[in-house]
């Protein structure tokens, strides 16, 4: 079902609600469609305020006894049967003719967006084998717990060496004991150890921005700059890129991969045409370059309907062989330049942000993979032929917005390990997991450093010791902050034992008389 939507004033909407059923004349040309039974009216362009049941959409021929949107230039008559006030977000709809709904929507034909299907996954725990489950159950009975990985190995050993009954109980007990020994001691400074463990191999990394051509002609930041970028939680990485995997059906097909890569590459009008401005006669001439169009896999017929969507100025479009002429109805020097500027960056094809896409065959996995320069995760995941589950980007902030904090945490670990690994360094993953945990603790990805975690410490003295001392102390004085001296830095300042290791234990020895 398609829905007619337009922008109106609140006054008119109220009038319509009062007088419905009635005819209403719009100042747009609407192609009548049989399935058009509903209309939505927006005032702000962000939410719809009214929903109407409509019965007829016809060109306006001067009928009387109808309400009018404007006084003149009326074009279409819509019969409104019923109208009521609603609250519906504009984001739930998509434009039928393709593209996105203009923010300053004048009128559009819409369809309700299909709601994403939610599938519940089978819990990971239920997928474990019965042997492992029985080990875990036995542990639970004793009020103990071990990681699943160790339980798996225990179950395996039980089977392989046929350990039963009491012997297995003994084994369990010994395992638990050993497991406890390997844990981090209470009050151990895991953060400091982590920082050193990442920092030391970091000194061996290349300092300068090192662009590594992993895929032919692709620029990807690696090495220390990339590591810094990850922990700084930059809004956009310096070289955003995506790895797009194809769906099961399409992954062996080169043509489909190439077609997909071409369709996402964002192409502006300037990429395929020369644009000329004529200020005296107030028109813009677009000269399409055939050669470039073929390279980009673009047809002339595709460009024209998109051009018609520029609704900001009243223009007449005339077309010839390879030329498109847009002339203003009312000549204006300012407006013609505005139009020219708009056309220069006008996107005729592809997804926002994706500059280039390259198709490559993976010998190991025997499948076609698309690598891109620039990233648009939300856009790509919606496309057909794309494997939703595996497609990824190196833009961590984007991941947190599209897939949530937990996925962002996973991405931080993944990206930092692979960066270190690429430089031939091996850092225990636990340190990187700690970094990722801290960065995503608050529910959003935060940087490590002054603007992130370190700047939000509870203690005034610790913050003052870090950076901008006077500002912190002054503010604390103004609002009367209290420092409980729980951390490390503040205890060093006042000359007390720090709250780490043995210093954290409040134990004293009193010799008996």
């Amino acid at each position: 079902m398609t829905i007619l939507a337009w922008k109106d004033t609140l006054k008119k909407v109220k009038e319509l609600i009062d007088k419905a059923p009635t005819g209403y004349v719009l100042d747009y040309e609407v192609q009548p469609e049989k399935s058009m039974k509903e209309a939505l009216i927006t005032v702000t362009g962000k939410t719809f305020v009214a929903k109407a049941k409509i019965s007829k959409v016809t060109p306006y021929e001067g009928e009387k006894n109808v309400l009018k949107k404007k006084k003149d230039k009326l074009k279409t008559l819509v019969m409104i049967e019923k109208i009521e006030e609603i609250q519906d977000d504009i984001v739930n709809y998509e434009e039928v003719s393709g593209g996105s709904i203009d923010k300053i929507l004048s009128f559009a034909v819409l369809a309700k967006k299909e709601e994403a299907k939610i599938e519940q996954r089978e819990p990971m725990e239920s997928k474990l084998s019965s042997d492992v489950k029985s080990v875990l159950r036995q542990l639970e009975k004793d009020g103990e717990s071990l990681p699943v990985k160790i339980a798996e190995r225990l179950a395996e050993a039980k089977k392989q060496y046929k350990i039963d009954g009491k012997d297995f109980d003994k084994l369990l007990k010994a395992t638990i004991e050993k497991y406890r020994e390997t844990g981090v001691d209470p009050y151990e400074a895991v953060g400091i150890v982590g920082a050193q463990s990442i920092g030391e191999p970091g000194t061996q990394m290349t300092m300068r921005t090192f662009h590594f051509a992993g895929v032919a002609e692709m620029d990807v930041t690696l090495g220390l700059p990339r590591l810094i970028e990850i922990v700084d939680a930059r809004k956009t990485p310096s070289t955003p890129s995506m790895t797009i995997f194809m769906s099961e059906k399409a992954r062996g097909d080169e043509d489909r991969a190439v077609a997909l890569a071409r369709s996402i590459e964002s192409t502006t009008l300037l990429d395929v045409a020369d644009i000329e401005v004529n200020t005296t006669e107030s028109y813009v001439l677009i000269m399409l370059d055939k050669q470039k169009m073929i390279e980009r896999g673009l047809k002339r017929e595709e460009i024209l309907p998109k051009l018609k969507k520029i609704r900001m100025q009243k223009t007449t479009i005339t077309e010839e062989e390879n030329e498109i002429k847009l002339s203003l109805d009312e000549p204006s020097f300012k407006k013609i330049y505005q139009l020219y500027e708009n056309l220069k960056t006008f996107q005729v094809k592809g997804l926002d942000g994706i500059k280039r896409a390259i198709v490559k065959f993976d010998q190991k996995a025997k499948e076609w993979i698309i690598y891109t320069q620039g990233s648009n995760l939300a856009g790509v995941l919606e496309l057909k032929d794309v494997d939703f589950a595996r497609t990824k980007t190196n833009d961590i902030i984007e991941i947190s917005q599209v897939l949530g904090v937990e996925a962002a945490r996973e991405a931080i670990i993944e990206e930092s390990t692979s960066t270190l690994h690429n430089a031939g360094l091996n850092t225990d993953i636990r340190h990187l997991m700690l970094v990722a945990d801290m960065m995503t603790f608050s529910g959003v990805v935060e940087a490590i450093g002054r603007h992130g975690i370190s700047g939000k410490k509870a203690s005034v003295l610790a913050r003052a010791a870090f950076e901008i001392t006077s500002k912190h102390l002054l503010n604390a004085g103004l609002i009367g902050e209290v420092d409980r001296l729980n951390g490390v830095a503040e205890n060093i300042i006042v000359g007390q034992p720090i709250t780490l290791g043995t210093g954290a234990v409040k134990l004293s020895y009193r010799r008996e008389e």
Partner: protein, 77 residues
């Protein structure tokens, strides 16, 4: 589901106390997850409105433990 997104389960109010006790923490000390987080939004379609203060159990595929369960408190925004 995307392979980078682990399992998210809403913890029933009854079980909340048991979990907090076993971890020895308060709700405020747990890591947070925003109500506007895409996964929470999806979970809301299954479980209905999730108000801030509820606890979400996250079952991750862990590189060190095999399976790891962690908890996050839902916060507003």
């Amino acid at each position: 589901m995307h392979e980078m997104v682990p399992e998210h389960w809403l913890v029933s109010v009854k079980e909340e106390e048991k979990i907090l006790k076993s971890l020895g923490v308060t709700k405020g000390q747990l890591p947070k997850i925003r109500k506007s987080d895409p996964v929470v939004k999806a979970l809301e379609k299954v479980e209905g409105e999730i108000s801030p203060g509820r606890i979400i159990e996250i079952v991750r595929k862990s590189r060190t433990r095999g399976i790891a369960k962690i908890y996050r408190t839902v916060i507003g925004e």
